[in-house]
Symmetry: C2
Subunit: 390 residues, 2 copies
């Protein structure tokens, strides 16, 4: 059973059920770690049609445990795409009008080159021999995909959480390629507390003896327990205290009184265990290490001499930032500091703070105010770019 | 090395470096789980002298990972007692005037009966054969100790966090035995989010293959990695985001630039790893399971038909509650709801919310406002009880 999963996961890394662009030795990926990654590949999905002048492309950047299946069923889980409530024919991001692209990030585990991919030097999975990946590396690979697709300027780059970091990086590194940018529930750097939670998750994975120093795939094993605990800890940070109280409170699971044991007595315990167990079926443990590390390293101000305004100097990109009042992973304050920097850089920027108790995960949910904000911003940007508006 | 630690931990459970009261078969401990624990023992420390009319006794209740060594060096770590800043000769809780008692809780691992203690039925450590312990069980055992010491009424019961839960339980179950009560940074129940964090910690311990279904002691092994990860996750909740930012920010550890690897690059990572590693040297993993479970089960209102006011009906105990603005484990709101219930019950109650960025752990630190609040409350209570006041 474990071996079956491993085989699936390993082949998924090299042969995903998505289109793939493979960049050979003549097109290496320059990494912040100081090395070149080559060959490498990017797996992606597209929705809708690119118009004649290639001006209607929207790039969606996914979060830590997301993937390219943003608006169609996920082939691994069978569930709807992670933003299918937002993106599709006639939806807020209308694929009858826009050409939507979403690529699995470098370091991921659903088809783009990551630690589970085959290292051409050894014929075995990279595991920890893959250099550490940064948010900028992910964006650099996406740029090569966009070039490959022949798109000069993206109409919009949008994403939440780690996806929002990529949006900020895109707007900072390639402003002329981004007409509008929509970073949601994110920040220009990862806070000390966020690094702390990620470190707990990594230590949990690495403490699992099945991790084998990262070489579990060749051994036909998987650090499932360690990864499940990592996911459980992380999942708490995606919700708010108020939402947990509203959804679960101190309600017991299938029973009238506590069992006076260590089973999942409380609904919140059973919910968290389920989150942990289902996660390990769809995610690679080493990818989890690499992607959490990429988020930890992200610090856009530090990349510009400590001044965030310099990250956006002279930008002509139109921005809309969105935060959620109960998001304690990326509190409003983090978005506000980006807004301040954008204002100081003279950028066109709007900012929407949405009142909700649903925490960080609100960006993935059917949140009417979020959809209204995205809709309004895209309409305004489409008019400014001269695209047809419904 | 591991075996050495195990022997030490195991013998510590039965023969601690503290006085012990052993309750034999004629004095079983009635447990909420519905069974009797017998024989059992309580290890405790005292400081100062009990006065002639036995009216100057202060019981200190320790928190999750605390112990009875509240005001003298800890024999396991060699560090000062955990509240030695507050308690001692001439200090705020002046042992020249008060007789201070602190007992290791039932379920703990420093001398009172817990999962590492020898089960008389098998001659081996109880491990998971110990019934689940509740806060009320801990207090029931403390009451037996207080009876043993011949003390009719405690002048004050004081404690923070899980210690504060015990204070509330004391005041609710034995109001005539408690002249004054000082619950700090606590609540009348454990919230859904707090249960969630505890469940992550328990799953981390139980995921460690060295845990062996709880039977690691007889096998001469210890689930050190799982327990360390549990401690790391919990430790984040004891601090505030602001304190983490102030103390660590995104500062790197002993280096100018990130290593692009999975070593502890950031100071916060190295700090957390240290917290995890030192914890396993002084704490028993099964005790961690039992004591987190006890906190999760605590719900004083539920024990009184869902009405917290009923928990304190007719009380004559004088109360002072203290909370900290940046404590997100036991937010001020939790203390406030206890204050409301006490007001509704007609109790004498004062409430101090202290402005600090130090989070939940503030109750353990040299916090002048906390000391002033305790000092003022004890002076007033001493006058009311007719004790000599400095």
């Amino acid at each position: 059973m474990v071996a079956l999963r491993v085989n699936k996961s390993h082949s998924e890394a090299d042969q995903p059920s998505s289109p793939v662009v493979r960049f050979e030795a003549d097109q290496p990926l320059k990494l912040d770690a100081g090395t070149l990654l080559s060959p490498f590949q990017v797996a992606y999905q597209t929705y809708g049609d690119l118009n004649a002048d290639k001006s209607n492309a929207i790039l969606v950047c996914h979060a830590l445990t997301g993937d390219q299946h943003v608006a169609s069923p996920n082939p691994v889980t069978g569930k709807p795409g992670w933003w299918q409530v937002l993106i599709g024919p006639g939806k807020v991001i209308d694929t009858d009008r826009f050409f939507v692209i979403c690529a699995n990030v470098i370091g991921g585990c659903l088809g783009s080159t990551g630690p589970a991919s085959t290292d051409p030097a050894t014929g075995k999975p990279y595991a920890l021999n893959l250099p550490v990946i940064t948010i900028r590396d992910m964006v650099r690979a996406q740029l090569m995909l966009i070039d490959h697709l022949g798109i000069d300027q993206l109409f919009c780059v949008i994403g939440g959480s780690m996806g929002g970091m990529q949006v900020l990086e895109w707007a900072s590194s390639y402003p002329e390629r981004v007409f509008s940018a929509l970073p949601i529930a994110t920040g220009a750097r990862h806070s000390s507390q966020n690094i702390a939670f990620h470190e707990v998750g990594r230590q949990s994975v690495m403490a699992d003896p099945e991790w084998l120093g990262g070489d579990y795939l060749v051994a036909g094993r998987r650090p499932e327990k360690g990864l499940a605990v990592a996911r459980m800890a992380a999942h708490i940070t995606y919700l708010s205290e108020a939402a947990l109280h509203r959804k679960f409170g101190r309600n017991l699971q299938d029973r009238d009184r506590p069992t006076f044991g260590f089973d999942a007595d409380f609904q919140i315990e059973s919910y968290l265990r389920h989150q942990g167990m289902t996660f390990v079926d769809r995610f690679d443990a080493n990818s989890y290490l690499y992607l959490t590390r990429a988020m930890d390293y992200f610090d856009l101000a530090a990349d510009h001499g400590g001044r965030l305004v310099e990250a956006f100097a002279g930008t002509k990109t139109r921005f809309c930032l969105v935060s959620f009042t109960s998001d304690w992973l990326f509190p409003t304050e983090e978005s506000r500091s980006v807004v301040h920097a954008l204002n100081a850089a003279g950028a066109s920027v709007s900012f929407v703070e949405i009142e909700t108790d649903r925490g960080h995960d609100a960006f993935l949910l059917d949140e009417p105010e979020l959809f209204a904000a995205i809709d309004g911003f895209l309409r305004s940007a489409a008019r400014a770019k001269g695209l047809a508006v419904r």
